[in-house]
């Protein structure tokens, strides 16, 4: 506005407000709404703090790999690949061959799966498709309770209850009627490969069953109805309309169970007998990769001994990682809604 014609303004122009003060009058007790540049710095700090936590996760896996590789290098350089194919485990003469442990791990896990998979799928089928609605929740909760029991308690029960049961009843029976297979030779100790396989099976059922339930529930209701409308019995509907559609996910669950069985330590250590021997008989004692580490690590006297044990740990680590990744992919294909395609 031109102030020439009207002369000099009578009122002095308003004083500029100090830049750093708040622009809005704060009410008592409420923080000012407009902030200064300080919050920008706080945001950056917060971001980096959270980022650091995320990076921690990466760093941890990196650390695991680093530790395992460096601390096993002694043994690796001494034995190379043959480490996993030799059977001599002799700490006194510093000769280490891990084949008995590999054998024990594989056999106990496969035995566990053979027992666990039909049971787990049966449980999942019952809870998802056959069970009255009011029973579903309690049953699901109870089977998940099995997963919460610590390994050492399974082991305790296996030593004092399962072992004697096997020794007195099951193993003599197996020797009598199935001895011709050659799988049930030798004195029935109670503890041994069979006990380890059974206790592992019990421990692995909840995982397989819970994933199976998840993928079965993900199958759309229309698929079930389509099969029923063709004149199928209930079991045929479950088989063709649900299990068939969910099979990739079920396989994923089984493989996840395998991963768990491979790495399971305490319960197996307590009942497998801890003898580094390879035997065809399931009644014989054995040794697994996880068990040998658990039993001998704190008593490893020489560097090479320790290194050999770490190498066993490294192998276990790699195998379980591969198995777990495979399982995740399989489960992901079903629950993400990509239906399994027909082959060829």
């Amino acid at each position: 506005m031109a102030n020439g014609a009207l002369g000099a303004p009578r009122v002095s122009p308003p004083q500029p407000v100090e830049k750093s003060e708040v622009a809005v009058m704060p009410k008592r007790g409420v923080k000012p709404l407009i902030k200064t540049g300080f919050s920008h710095i706080a945001d950056r700090i917060f971001y980096f703090a959270m980022l650091a936590c995320g990076v921690c996760v990466l760093a941890l896996v990196g650390l695991i790999v680093y530790q395992l590789i460096t601390r096993s290098s002694l043994s690796w350089h001494a034995f190379g690949w043959s480490f996993f194919f030799r059977s001599e485990w002799d700490p006194v003469n510093e000769q280490f061959g891990a084949f008995p442990f590999v054998y024990g791990t594989v056999v106990s896990s496969i035995l566990a799966l053979i027992l666990a998979v039909p049971l787990a799928i049966g449980v999942a089928v019952f809870i998802t498709e056959m069970c009255p609605v009011w029973l579903k929740g309690p049953l699901a909760f109870t089977t998940e309770l099995l997963a919460a029991i610590p390994s050492v308690i399974y082991g305790l029960w296996a030593i004092f209850v399962l072992g004697p049961l096997l020794r007195q009843y099951l193993e003599p029976w197996l020797m009598r009627y199935l001895g011709w297979t050659g799988l049930f030779d030798g004195p029935p100790y109670g503890i041994g490969m069979l006990a380890a396989g059974i206790i592992l099976a019990i421990m692995v059922v909840p995982i397989i069953s819970s994933i199976t339930r998840e993928v079965m529930t993900a199958v759309p209701q229309q698929q079930r109805e389509a099969v029923l409308a063709l004149g199928a019995t209930r079991w045929e509907m479950i088989r063709t309309g649900v299990l068939r559609n969910a099979r990739a996910g079920i396989l994923g669950g089984v493989i996840l169970g395998l991963g768990r069985a491979l790495g399971e330590t305490m319960a197996v250590t307590m009942v497998i007998g801890n003898r580094p021997e390879i035997s065809k008989s399931l009644l014989a004692p054995g040794y697994t990769m996880a068990s040998v580490i658990a039993n001998e690590f704190s008593e490893a006297t020489t560097d090479r001994y320790l290194s050999a044990l770490v190498e066993v740990g490294l192998a276990l680590f790699i195998v379980t990682i591969i198995v777990n990744i495979l399982a995740q992919i399989l489960v992901w294909t079903v629950t993400r809604g990509t239906p399994a395609r027909a082959n060829g």
Binding site: V133, E225, V227, A229
Partner: protein, 252 residues
């Protein structure tokens, strides 16, 4: 080849809520009967009671007399057997994604114990021809999965699958509502031809479709059958005021 459907005093419940009240009607053999009505009037529930699919829902119940030809649906025969004689096509096409096209069509037969390979091939080809899908899939019968087809093709596949077991009645629950107009046209043409050998009951919310495809129409409202007559009559000179209001678009 079709048989007539007689429904007498059919009632159905979802738990405590009654969804159908004393439905009585007759769908003549070798004709198409449309079931129309606003959302929630019970038309889907009605059709699902005809092949005892309604009772697969927990807490659901149905009572009454349903005769498919001389077969008493609710008395004496197991639901599994009923569903074998009555085919159903659903609103959203639901082919089996883990099976090839061939296996999809043959699924009903294999389930029922029919395993003669040569005969199966014949029936699959015949059903796909009837469903007007044969030419499009004959080269990839075993190679492509049921789910790899387009929406309209999938629905025709479902029709072929239902027809393969030679039902006497075909129930269709809004078969075209998930499809585009061209596929819808193809399926309506199909229904026209199927009438010669089957009795069809088709649920539809599309009144023009009912008038195109069906000779008879039943109008449902709030779980009751308000009027049942020749389609022409329902749409031009309905007897009940509520029917008139619905077909002229005053509600629903």
């Amino acid at each position: 080849m079709g048989v007539g459907i007689k429904v007498e005093k059919l009632n159905a419940w979802f738990g405590k809520t009654q969804a159908l009240h004393e439905i009585t009607m007759e769908a003549p053999a070798n004709h198409a009967t449309a079931v129309i009505g606003p959302s929630g009037c019970g038309k889907s529930t009605f059709v699902r009671c005809l092949n005892r699919m309604h009772e697969t829902i927990p807490d659901a119940k149905a009572e009454g007399r349903v005769m498919i030809g001389d077969l008493d649906v609710y008395n004496g025969t197991s639901p599994v057997q009923i569903r074998r004689r009555i085919g159903m096509v659903f609103q959203k096409p639901n082919p089996f994604p883990t099976m090839s096209i061939y296996d999809n069509v043959a699924a009903g037969l294999k389930l029922n114990g029919f395993h003669d390979r040569r005969k199966l091939n014949e029936i699959v080809e015949h059903s796909l021809k009837v469903a007007a899908l044969w030419d499009e899939v004959k080269d990839t019968l075993h190679k492509k999965s049921g789910a790899s087809l387009s929406g309209g093709q999938q629905q025709r596949l479902c029709i072929a699958r239902a027809l393969a077991v030679q039902p006497e009645v075909l129930l269709m629950d809004e078969p075209c509502s998930a499809l585009d107009p061209i596929s819808t046209g193809k399926i309506e043409e199909l229904i026209f031809q199927l009438k010669e050998d089957f009795t069809i009951v088709i649920v539809t919310h599309n009144m023009q479709q009912a008038s195109r495809v069906a000779e008879f129409t039943g109008f449902f409202l709030l779980g009751r059958l308000i009027e049942f007559d020749k389609t022409e009559k329902i749409f031009t000179t309905p007897s009940d005021k509520r029917t008139e209001d619905y077909v002229t678009g005053r509600f629903g």
